[in-house]
C-alpha cells in the first residue's frame, strides 16, 4: 500500500520535474550569451560572469570558487562554519555520556576488538602524511581546488583513522574545544576589524594582495581558509570522538 502510494507520488513528481528541466538548456553558455530581452531596463549580467571577470581585481585569488566562498559570499561561509559548530555542539548535547551500568564489560570489549598490528602501524605512519596533505589543501585553497572545509575534513579523517586503530586513543577535549572557539572568534574578529576600520563587515582586502597565483596573494582569503580548516578539522574530530565515546 505504502509502496504504491510512494510510487504514484514519485511518478507525478517525476512528470513535473521532467517537464521543468526540459525547459533548461543544459550546458548552454549563459555567461556570455547576449540577452535579447528589452523589457527590463536594468542590466542583466549573470553574477557568475561578474565574479569571473572581476575576481583578479577584487580578490586576486586564482581559484574563483574560493574567492566566491570566502570573499563574495563570505557571510554564507560564516554561516556554514556556524552550522558545523552547531552540529558538533548539538551532537555533544545529545550524546552526552549517561552513566552506564556495565562499565567493566565495556573495557573487556575494547581489548577484544583491538585492531591488528598492521592497521596500527600503517595508521601511525600515515597520520602525519594525511595531516600534511590536509594542511596543503587548506593552505592552497585560493590556488588549487580545495580549501578549508576539504582540508579540515582530511585532517579529521586522519584522526578518525587513529580512533579506529587505537581503541585507547584519546584527544584532549579542552584543546580541541579551544581551537574550535578560537578559530571561530578569529574569523569574526577579522570581519569586525573591517567593520571598525572601514565600516564594512568581512572586508578581506585589508592586507597587501600580493602577486597573482602565488601563495601569498588574495589578501586575507588564505588566512580565513586556514582558520576554517582548523575549525572544521577540530569540529569533525570532536564529532567523531563523540560517536566513539558513546559506544
Amino acid at each position: 500500500m505504502k509502496k504504491i502510494i510512494a510510487t504514484l507520488i514519485l511518478l507525478v513528481f517525476t512528470f513535473y520535474t521532467y517537464n521543468t528541466i526540459k525547459g533548461f538548456r543544459f550546458g548552454h553558455d549563459f555567461l556570455n550569451a547576449k540577452t535579447n530581452n528589452k523589457k527590463i531596463s536594468q542590466k542583466i549580467e549573470p553574477a557568475g560572469k561578474h565574479y569571473l571577470e572581476n575576481n583578479k581585481l577584487e580578490n586576486n585569488a586564482s581559484n574563483v570558487v574560493t574567492s566566491i566562498v570566502v570573499s563574495y559570499r563570505g557571510f554564507d561561509t560564516l554561516g556554514e562554519v556556524t552550522v558545523l559548530f552547531l552540529a558538533a555542539t548539538g551532537l555533544g548535547v545529545i550524546l552526552t555520556l549517561t552513566k552506564k551500568e556495565d562499565d567493566d564489560e565495556n573495557e573487556n570489549d575494547s581489548s577484544e576488538g583491538e585492531p591488528s598490528l598492521i592497521v596500527k602501524t600503517a595508521s601511525r605512519i600515515l597520520f602525519p602524511l594525511i595531516f600534511i596533505f590536509g594542511a596543503y589543501v587548506f593552505i592552497h585553497g585560493h590556488l588549487t581546488p580545495g580549501g578549508g572545509f576539504q582540508g579540515g575534513t582530511i585532517i579529521a579523517s586522519a584522526y578518525l583513522m587513529m580512533f579506529l586503530s587505537y581503541s585507547n586513543f584519546k584527544i584532549n577535549h579542552s584543546i580541541f574545544k579551544s581551537i574550535e572557539s578560537m578559530s571561530g572568534l578569529t574569523f569574526i574578529s577579522i570581519g569586525l576589524v573591517g567593520l571598525i576600520g572601514f565600516g564594512i563587515f568581512l572586508k578581506l582586502n585589508l592586507i597587501p594582495m600580493g602577486v597573482f597565483n602565488t601563495l601569498f596573494s588574495a589578501g586575507l582569503i588564505p588566512i580565513v581558509y586556514i582558520i576554517v580548516g582548523f575549525k572544521v578539522g577540530s569540529e569533525l574530530t570532536a564529532v567523531v570522538d563523540s560517536y566513539r565515546e558513546n559506544w
Binding site: T14, F24, Y51, V69, D76, A87, Y243
Partner: protein, 122 residues
C-alpha cells in the same frame, strides 16, 4: 526532442533527480531509521549534483586561473560550486546530528523501526 534524447542530453539532471527519487522512495517506504537516513543522504547528493550541473557549460573548464590557458571566457559558472560546498557542509551537519539522535533512540526504544517510535501522537 524525443524523451530519449532529452534523457541523454540531460543525463546529469536525470541522474540527480533519479537519486532524489530513490531517496524519497526510501524516506517514504523504508521503516528502518538508518535506511531513511541513507535516503535523505541520497536526496542530498542528488540535489548537490543538480546544483553543480546547473553551472556546467559545454566545453569549458574549472574556474581556477592557475595557468594562463584558463580565462574568464572559458570557465564555467563558479557560483553553483560555491553553493554546493555550503550545501554539502549543511548535509554533513544534519547527517551527523540525525545519526546521534538515532543512536540515542535505539538505546532508548531498542528498535530502529520508525513506525514503532510513536509515543507522541494526536
Amino acid at each position: 526532442m524525443s524523451w530519449v534524447e532529452t534523457v541523454y542530453n540531460y543525463s546529469y539532471f536525470v541522474g540527480a533527480f533519479g537519486l532524489i527519487m530513490i531517496g524519497l522512495y526510501a524516506v517514504m517506504v523504508k521503516t528502518n531509521l538508518i535506511k531513511i537516513l541513507i535516503g535523505i543522504n541520497l536526496i542530498d547528493v542528488g540535489v548537490n549534483i543538480f546544483l553543480v550541473s546547473l553551472g556546467y557549460i559545454k566545453g569549458k573548464g574549472a574556474p581556477i586561473f592557475s595557468n594562463a590557458s584558463v580565462t574568464p571566457a572559458n570557465s564555467i559558472d563558479p557560483i553553483p560550486q560555491a553553493l554546493v560546498l555550503t550545501a554539502i557542509v549543511i548535509g554533513v551537519a544534519v547527517t551527523a546530528l540525525s545519526l546521534s539522535v538515532i543512536i540515542k533512540l535505539y538505546q532508548h526504544y531498542k528498535t530502529l523501526d520508525i513506525s514503532k517510535i510513536r509515543e507522541m501522537r494526536w
